[in-house]
Symmetry: C2
Subunit: 365 residues, 2 copies
């Protein structure tokens, strides 16, 4: 057997909902897997960083309070890369931020032999040039890049799609409900039984319950779904230039796109309730419900994100809560798809996808 790494150096960036959960899972992993030894050597949030010049350990169990008490101004990204690239072992950066700046720097990390794990969609759904740079840089640097949680949180979506492709199957169509927020909203607005509430009221409620972004327009514009479709389409072999190349049906009324605040948006939204309520009524007359889905036909190259009607017995109509569902149609699977369904958002399950990616690298070093 080839000699294996005895230690890996982990740099964690971000300590929000996912980041905090990941730290707990990292602590579990460090205790449950003696080899390779997991050493946290760098920990940073937007305005604080913690590391030692000799790469000595940051106590994972106390990383957050230590960052609080001992942290200092974070270095610029090029200096982070410089610090990490001279570590005395393999380095893995876990980027739990949603930072576009970090995303744009992945090729530089990877080129320097530093692996990347992240739930951050930005890099993989940015320009196709960045996508290519990321994977050629990883190849050149002998580093790894994993992003399972960028679609469907901790569910095995990306790994499954990769395995279909790598074993020689032909993926023909990918469709599903990719947004926990949209799932929750439409399940309430267009329920299987009974009458849903007013659209603007359901949006307000979802926001109050924390199911939407602080500005609900960041969900309603459909861009999150378009980003996920972009990632899956590219993995299936379709070189989509960017999410803006996909026709997306935004649920933001044209007149409210320029509203200066989310408050103004929510205040004026009731004036436009009739649009979606008309669609719901028409669907109801056809004994169907309305859902917000994404799909990409790999064979024709056509992709689409927006509202569709579904029979009440259809699996996409039958989701509960904020669940996601993803159908892979492939040559091998034939007429019936391979389907994965479950929570597509949440700190713990998203962090699990990140931790699972870390396990994949630990097995390979």
């Amino acid at each position: 057997m080839a000699p294996t790494a005895k230690e890996v150096y982990i740099a964690v960036i971000g300590a929000g909902g996912v980041g905090a959960c990941f730290l707990k899972q990292l602590a579990y992993l460090a205790k449950s897997r003696p080899s390779p030894r997991i050493r946290l050597c760098y920990f940073a949030i937007i305005d604080r960083a913690l590391y030692h010049d000799d790469y000595s350990d940051i106590d994972i169990d106390n990383a957050l309070p230590l960052l609080e008490s001992n942290g200092f101004d974070p270095p610029q990204i090029p200096n982070v890369i410089k610090y990490l690239s001279t570590a005395p072992g393999r380095v893995i950066v876990v980027d739990n931020t949603a930072s576009g700046l970090m995303a744009a720097s992945y090729p530089e990390f990877l080129k320097n032999g530093i692996s990347i794990i992240t739930p951050n969609k930005k890099a993989f759904s940015g320009s196709y040039q960045l996508w290519q740079d990321i994977f050629t840089s990883a190849s050149a640097g002998g580093s790894f890049v994993y992003h399972e949680s960028s679609v469907g949180a901790g569910m095995p979506i990306i790994s499954t799609l990769n395995e279909l492709v790598e074993t020689g199957d032909q993926v023909t169509l990918i469709e599903g409900l990719f947004s926990g927020t949209m799932s929750f909203l439409l399940n309430k607005f267009s329920p299987l039984e009974g009458q849903g509430g007013k659209w603007s009221v359901e949006v307000k409620k979802a926001r109050e319950l924390g199911y939407t972004e602080p500005d609900p327009r960041d969900d309603l514009n459909g861009l999150d779904v378009a980003r996920k479709i972009t990632i899956l389409a590219r993995l299936a072999g379709l070189p989509i230039e960017s999410p803006s190349a996909i026709p997306v049906q935004s649920l933001i009324p044209k007149e409210l796109q320029t509203a200066t605040s989310s408050e103004e948006f929510l205040q004026k939204l009731p004036d436009f309730d009739h649009i979606l309520e008309k669609e719901r009524e028409e669907a109801r007359k056809a004994n169907k419900v309305v859902r917000f889905v994404g799909k990409v036909d790999i064979m024709s190259g056509e992709a689409k994100v927006g509202l569709e009607w579904f029979e009440k017995s259809h699996p996409i109509a039958n989701l509960q809560g904020s669940d996601n569902i993803i159908n892979f149609y492939t040559k091998r699977y034939g007429d019936l798809p391979l389907t994965i369904r479950g929570a597509g958002a949440g700190g713990d399950v998203t962090a699990m996808g990140v931790t699972g990616d870390l396990l994949k690298i630990l097995r390979q070093v």
Copy 2:
């Protein structure tokens, strides 16, 4: 980086439905992945084997006709192990048989540094002692053992369960429909709409269509499902002694267990149609359908295999064709499970699980 293997030596045993599909996928893999180089050094079926003393390549594309024309009497398993353990590189045995003899020999292969990949359920659902021997032998020998296709064919069932456990989630309950044959049969016998046929007629039809084993009792006894539940329960941390420790509702009438042939069994089966037809009627009065499911409660240690009634809107009631569905309930996922659904049988999709396991090893060597 640690130096990586340049070549791996593959031994393929079995060339039935799964084996033949696997060979095609292996040929694809050998062409699409230049490194490590894949070398087929041993190929055998029950009464023929092909290998060269100098471990030189068997042409994967022509392996079957070569075995036909140049094959000889296969060596005994200990001699196969001897041959493989002196190969000039890492060796992976792909066991595409259903042989109990092979299964019992896994520890010996693994101890000698020879990795095992298989869709064969026997080893992992045999005695708990064999289960333990397999994993301690792999650890001692520095070898790998993967068996994704032993449950749910190529679907990511085992890898998902392993990741849940390894990242520190607590799996609480696993339930589902684990037999493509039982799925097909019950979907016909107790359909969502309309009247199903007579039980004995549906069994005969399913056999004629190739959906059952040559002797349908090998499906109807429920043992296949009990084996799969045993494997999943063990992976989730429950040391089930053997599948016979699980209460299994056999669909073979007591009086027909001793029928000397499948023909005699099928001939006498109509005399017992009233039993299942009564159950179907009772379910129908409750507006439910009957399905054959397996479940294990990891927390209480209780497992069960047999018929259950489901609301027509329930995902388990709504399967089509011979699809499987598996629900993982875990602490992280909360009230709603992580669900995987799709083809649970078939040469190509089963072989894909095997090829996917091979990819996992190739990445690690």
